[in-house]
Symmetry: C2
Subunit: 568 residues, 2 copies
């Protein structure tokens, strides 16, 4: 591609509504252009990235034996009424009427339509299993669309649906898709993790999310660097400490702790580590009476886990200050378990503490030397905290680390949720009708573009993985209009790289070097070759990788082989 013939549109400043780095850089580099809230034009430079992402997904889905089709964006309400989703789904499902006042929806996914196709087309176990997918426009009418393509309203998704005669075969295909997704994200050049997305067994088989790792990710992920274990922090088990509780050695002593409202203030005041304190969290119970949850001072309550405890109101609701004063006779910050008559749970890690610090149920007072069983009854032990880095891994191998991720894929064993509602049956080998087992497998195509940037950028702009870069190599001439020799050398290299199938752009816009370099660094082209008269006099060109701090001089006669070598 010649830059002069292309559509390049870079901005110095991102628009003010761009909050996150990927959104800002996509707008500045001219990859997308806002049309309406959460609705974007994919500009030429951005569409190149999207097409490369789509192609990698398509190749790996095909390789895994899935079959591509395409289902309409506009879908009749009847099918959505069969599963109840037409009424049950909130305003995210955009409903519309055609000229005859018939109800339709814009597809947010296509479980209903694919199940309708399969129940008509597939009759026999001999036609199963089948995995059908599409790469198609989706619409979700988000209440507050934001973050550019990360949480847009109109977006592109690859959605696949598999159909099976039995659960074992669904599990086999689920693993097949798990492997295909791993290949997809590997080929996309992204650091990613497959994360167990339910609270089932370790390595939970029912559902996995695929996350692109990025510091700016909205989800915290606990993972084991030495194994495949990974789970959303909300779902990762904090295993019981291997140690047992030491014998009590200190006497229960009430101390004045003026102004120490938080664990940090308390630990600083007493000059102890927060891990020596037990904090009290009071939540509403089922029965209208509060429930007390005890955790090590340095740990965080996990609301998902706590919400599932017997007797606790679900979803979890923190007790009001009035309820707390009523039940404990003190303000939050000085609360503790001694003399509390209601239900008490203690986290596994807090349960092994001895000689701890607890609230005294008297404003500005705490106890030191508090001991479970001696000073207050043994509470019920439960896993109610978020895991932290260094916790033992639930798979028994090594310890956990914590990272942040952006969900870009989700695989799910639907089982018979849709096939039962829509009567999607087959004739089994024994001649009897059976409901099909189903799986579904989604990848956010346009979201990957954002996630890739969140993982790969610097203060100059985007740093694309080569596999999805809009262009792989840019040739930057110094003085395009000035030097015939520069033009000749540029054209020669351009033609040679094109002939080798490399996606190369020649910047023939005759821009000044500063502006030209800034554009391509912002756009994030991985490889750059600079050709100028000064270098040519020395017999060299300058190569610089997008992550390189400095350029490398390469002899004119070797540049072609050098660049091709980068792709070998």
């Amino acid at each position: 591609m010649r830059a002069s013939k292309y559509f390049i549109s870079s901005l110095k400043e991102a628009p003010s509504d761009a909050e996150i780095v990927s959104h800002k850089l996509m707008m500045r580099a001219g990859l997308i252009k806002k049309l309406s809230a959460g609705i974007y034009n994919y500009m030429p430079m951005g569409l190149r990235v999207i097409r490369k992402i789509e192609n990698i997904i398509r190749e790996e889905m095909n390789r895994a034996g899935a079959i591509e089709l395409s289902m309409p964006v506009v879908q009749p309400a009847e099918l959505w009424q069969e599963t109840g989703r037409f009424d049950k789904m909130g305003d995210e499902l955009l409903r519309l009427k055609d000229r005859h006042q018939r109800d339709f929806v814009l597809q947010p996914t296509s479980e209903e339509v694919i199940t309708d196709i399969v129940r008509q087309e597939i009759r026999s176990y001999r036609q199963l299993p089948k995995n059908l997918y599409q790469i198609q426009t989706k619409f979700r009418d988000e209440r507050r669309p934001r973050f550019g393509v990360m949480r847009g309203r109109e977006f592109t998704m690859k959605d696949a649906y598999s159909f099976h005669t039995n659960f074992d075969d669904l599990k086999r295909e689920y693993q097949n898709m798990f492997d295909a997704y791993s290949r997809i994200f590997t080929r996309l050049g992204l650091e990613f993790r497959a994360v167990a997305a339910d609270t089932g067994a370790i390595g939970g088989t029912g559902s996995h999310e695929f996350h692109v790792i990025a510091e700016t990710g909205e989800d915290a992920i606990a993972y084991n660097p030495d194994s495949a274990y990974a789970a959303n922090v909300e779902l990762a088990e904090a295993v019981a400490p291997a140690t047992t509780r030491p014998t009590a050695s200190a006497a229960l002593t009430k101390v004045h702790t003026p102004g120490a409202k938080t664990i940090e203030q308390l630990a600083a005041f007493l000059k102890i580590d927060a891990s020596q304190t037990i904090k009290s969290v009071i939540v509403d119970g089922d029965a209208g009476v509060p429930v007390l949850l005890l955790l090590r001072g340095d740990h965080e309550l996990n609301e998902v886990k706590a919400g599932k405890l017997a007797g606790v109101f679900s979803p979890l609701r923190f007790a009001s200050p009035a309820t707390i004063r009523d039940a404990f006779g003190a303000e939050p910050g000085s609360i503790g378990p001694i003399d509390f008559q209601g239900k008490v749970y203690i986290d596994r890690s807090a349960a092994v503490l001895a000689d701890a610090v607890i609230g005294a149920n008297e404003n500005d007072y705490h106890y030191t030397g508090a001991n479970i069983g001696r000073d207050f009854p043994e509470p019920e032990v439960a896993d109610i905290r978020n895991v932290v880095a260094g916790d033992p891994s639930p798979d028994g191998q090594g310890t956990l680390a914590i990272c942040r991720g952006i969900e870009v894929g989700h695989i799910f064993q639907l089982r018979t949720k849709y096939s039962e509602a829509m009567n999607c049956k087959f004739i089994a080998e024994d001649g009897k009708e059976q409901i099909m087992e189903m799986g579904c497998y989604g990848v956010g195509v346009t979201r990957i573009m954002g996630a890739a940037i969140e993982q790969n950028f610097d203060d100059k702009g985007i740093i694309w993985p080569v596999s999805i870069a809009p262009f792989e190599v840019v040739i930057c001439p110094m003085g395009w209009s000035r030097s015939e020799e520069v033009r000749k050398q540029c054209e020669q290299l351009y033609n040679a790289l094109q002939a080798a199938g490399i996606d190369v752009v020649l910047d023939d816009r005759d821009e000044r070097p500063g502006a030209m370099f800034a554009d391509w660094e912002l756009i994030g082209v991985p490889h750059r070759v600079v050709i100028g008269d000064r270098g040519l006099k020395e017999g060299v060109m300058e190569y610089q990788g997008r992550r390189d701090a400095e350029a490398t001089k390469v002899a004119v006669g070797e540049i072609e082989a050098f660049v091709k070598g980068l792709f070998a």
Copy 2:
């Protein structure tokens, strides 16, 4: 592809709502599946065809220098209000509201959005010209969707829009797109014609339709087999005959013509050729009085041309029987120009007749030997008929032929219609602001699939052009489960053809030969190789092209080279 792993779904009978051959065959071959009126799932086999069509279009658009982007399906009403189309367009424009009750439309085309992009992104003449295109889902809420993908509601279209500093540059790009479209339809393997779509100069530069030639096409096209001239029959000029009117030789004679209401009946009764008669058509005039149009009996009135005549009500409206009786004193069928006092037009071809037969304005009577100028005044001469095969070509070279076509592409010089309404300006070389000139260029991607079938089918099914066939070659084993040697030979050829980049399908479903052949003939795979034990004993396999009446025996050792040779 192995057929057993793919989704093949053929039907013996087409559903009853399929009226035309392409719709029937697409349903029977499992290319599409109806979801709602005018809304279809593109099934795996059909999507393969669509992707091949898209790729050819994309390659040729890129080669022509156009740049791909993608605009949203859901577009805000504001832009459509700027051009007035939000209100002016009928119910074909599907309007909807999001959760915040804001107005949106589903894109039927994207003139508004592309003009909005360009007016923001392009400032200077130095950035022009640009031609931007997308291949994207469109929606038109047809009142009566029918003919499958030929007149659907949701469909895929390639729409391109070009922007220019001046009209000459628009005309240059228009020609560039004309050439690109010619390459596209040539590569698609379709017989097509570019047809002038306005009444402008010969070879009209303002707008061309591209038609796939098919007997079942909805448009009649007049073309010159020896030149590039082609036009919709409604628009093709019927040039004046080179001959002049002979001298009158017969006397005006009233004859009784009982029951001769039509020209056919009249000519049969008088034992003359219809071309010796002049028929009278009465239409409403502007002034409330009827206007008489005279044509040669064997010619058809062209309503578009007649509607443009001075004094004729537009759009053309035939006079009521009562009006006719009132003005002529006879029923339609016996009407003529003698003694008629109103305005009379005569077609160029009728104007050179002498001694003609005309209606006598008396029921069941006609005149023979009628002569213009002698028996009634010279009417105003005009071109008011449809051309017929054998007419001289308006470009002065040879004669016209007539064929039928299906419109699959349309190129159009929009000029400043949208750019003016939306204030899409650039800074010209002289520093002044100017409105951009625009062109637009559409191709109906899914419609091409239907048109290709209308042009290429027989009683067994579809006959795809190789370039868009879902598969290029099918290997049909005789006794897949029975013969190890057959399987071995099939696999070997399958692997060899795949390695050569040929899109081959191996039918490993173990179907009976009759059912297997019927499936692939219905689906329309262009090349078939049959491998069976009987042939292998003789050392041969059987090749048959989809249009071949009989199979050709090819030696086992030569089959690979033979099939590859078909693609050379």
